[in-house]
């Protein structure tokens, strides 16, 4: 019986020792996992911030898209309308490539197309306006 008791004590001693080792390993594991958790938390925080910044970029892009939309649906059609109105009223088509200082184009009359070629450096603005309007038919 003394043998059994002694053996029992020896086993207990061994078990406590093993337990101590296991506790150390667990402690190390917890430490490591804890550190990884902290690192991941930091990374997540950084990415969350990045996502917030992207939201601002998105808002800015939306604003820009609206501006493009306004140009396409309002500003340009409006400018087209005015340019077309001038063209429709005067029946004049300009030569945009002519030498500077020259007033060159074509007046599309009811029957004939008449070329326009005036030197604005030699003529007053009123003369040019009067001349161009004289090409426009006053008959209803």
């Amino acid at each position: 019986m003394e043998k059994e008791v002694a053996q029992s004590l020896l086993n207990a001693k061994e078990q406590v020792h093993q337990g101590g080792v296991e506790l150390q390993q667990l402690e190390a594991g917890l430490q490591e996992a804890g550190e990884e958790d902290t690192r991941l938390k930091a990374s997540l925080l950084q990415l969350t911030r990045e996502l917030e910044e992207l939201k601002e970029i998105e808002a800015d892009l939306e604003r820009q898209e609206k501006e493009v939309d306004e140009d396409t649906t309002v500003t340009i059609p409006s400018a087209v309308y005015v340019a077309q109105l001038y063209h429709q009223v005067s029946k004049i088509e300009w030569d945009y490539e002519c030498e500077p200082g020259m007033v060159k184009g074509i007046h599309h009359g009811p029957s004939v197309a008449q070329p326009i070629h005036l030197d604005s450096t030699q003529l007053s603005r009123k003369f040019i306006s009067d001349y161009l309007w004289s090409l426009v038919d006053t008959e209803w």
């Binding site: 002694a6 406590v16 009223v89 426009v136």
Partner: protein
């Protein structure tokens, strides 16, 4: 603490062994009793240790699960951010291209309008109330910049309606009737200009 316990056990065992070796039965019995007491202490310690081990195992499993969760979250966020960045890059490109094209177009349209405005001496403006304002210049030879204007809009009956002429034009109402009948806006403007010019020479 565990080391202390181990030291204690060592001591117990040595003591027991010494007792066991060298004493008589009654001493042996006393020794056995002491050893049993030590055993009980040892088992209590083992029990305490086991509880602690289980607790730490549970914590570790929990922490590992949290780490896994965070890793997944990180993956998702990273992918999400990447997708958004690509999308925004594409959008930026599209916007840039559209802006360029629009700017070009507006530039050409403006150039065209400017030529008409300068050469015809006529400015056409959109103003409040869905109206168009027509401003003639180069009418008065003494004051070419002097403006002669009127406004136009389509009324509820979708007819041309003139208003706010400056200076006042006597024949404007008649012109309005004519353009309503013929829809000849070209002749309308030519006649208005002629009439404005006449006011200067009178």
């Amino acid at each position: 603490m565990v080391e202390d316990e181990l030291a204690l056990f060592d001591k117990s065992i040595n003591e027991f062994w010494n007792k066991f070796k060298s004493t008589d039965t009654s001493c042996q019995m006393a020794g056995l009793r002491d050893t049993y007491k030590d055993s009980i202490k040892a088992f209590a310690e083992i029990s305490r240790q086991n509880k602690l081990i289980q607790e730490k195992k549970d914590n570790l499993l929990k922490l590992i699960a949290e780490v896994k969760g965070k890793k997944q979250e990180l993956e998702v966020l990273t992918a999400n951010i990447q997708d958004l960045k690509e999308e925004y890059s594409r959008k930026k490109e599209t916007i840039s291209t559209a802006n360029k094209a629009n700017a070009e177009r507006l530039k050409r349209l403006q150039k065209s309008a400017d030529l008409y405005k300068d050469r015809l001496g006529l400015e056409i403006r959109k103003i409040y109330g869905e109206k168009l304002q027509f401003i003639f210049t180069n009418i008065d030879p003494k004051n070419p910049e002097s403006p002669f204007m009127f406004s136009l809009h389509l009324n509820e009956a979708r007819d041309y309606e003139v208003s706010d002429s400056a200076p006042h034009l006597e024949g404007l109402a008649e012109f309005q009737e004519n353009v309503r009948k013929t829809n000849n806006f070209s002749a309308f403007l030519a006649n208005v200009r002629k009439a404005f010019t006449a006011t200067v020479y009178n």
